[in-house]
Symmetry: C2
Subunit: 158 residues, 2 copies
């Protein structure tokens, strides 16, 4: 995968990770290509689904989301996994849901308005089929929070 990418693609992707609404003429300037060439490269990167999409990053504090937490859940019986996942995915306050190694079968990243809504969500989760235990770590402060991949690390510009 991720084949056929050169240094120019990497630059484009890195800049789009930093500024998802960057204009093509800005990108063109950065990579020293014409605007149509940049457009064509972007089109291909999107077409290959190397770029999954674009998003606006909102300030959760300013939106009164006071609680961020990581919740470890033990779901008993892998028969129960699919319905658990379905439930988790449908819950807007659950931002992430991963199955993991180690204690607990799944980890959730959660954002809620306050302790009360957090408690409410927790007990809702507890009520789901197969959920036996859960352990929470509440975030006190965040020092880094990004999705930017250091793509140069894994790509050998062919």
């Amino acid at each position: 995968m991720a084949q056929g990418l050169d240094e120019i693609d990497i630059k484009i992707l890195n800049h789009l990770q930093k500024d998802g609404r960057s204009q093509r003429n800005k990108l063109a300037e950065i990579v020293h290509l014409s605007v149509p060439s940049v457009s064509e490269r972007m089109r291909k990167l999107e077409e290959k689904d190397l770029i999954k999409g674009y998003t606006a990053l909102l300030d959760s504090k300013k939106f009164k989301f006071d609680i961020t937490a990581f919740v470890f859940v033990e779901v008993d019986g892998s028969d129960n996994y699919p319905i658990f996942i379905e439930n988790a995915v449908a819950e807007p306050e659950i931002l992430e849901c991963h199955s993991i190694t180690g204690d607990g079968s799944h980890i959730l990243k959660i954002r809620t308005e306050n302790t009360s809504s957090f408690e409410q969500l927790l007990s809702k989760i507890q009520s789901w089929d197969g959920v036996s235990k859960s352990r929470s770590n509440v975030v006190l402060s965040s020092f880094k929070e990004t999705n930017e991949l250091p793509i140069e690390k894994t790509i050998d510009p062919k």
Copy 2:
């Protein structure tokens, strides 16, 4: 905070969370306003830093990032926190760094190419001042991974 927002702002923000490169005329259509009005609202949302920025979401699998992990770190002596945080922030493979309640003082979200680069990063972290223990949960599969905030939950469209 987050005051003075109405249903139209919420719609704009929600749509920009789903499509960060959405054109203003598309947004205008959705909220039934003219393009200049939408532009003005976006400008204000950005100015107030309710929107922190925009980013392209890349497919980590396609970029050969095989390992996602959550690492709990115990940093001894809060004197050591600032330098720990500085180190963590500077490490591109560490996507998130939070201080937390419960066991361990910090949780890290990490993405590396493979087990080898993961191990390498882990031992690097261990070598940092004050780091005494660490426990890792490696992600086997991810079912949801978003940053989209369910902003309607916390906003009272005055």
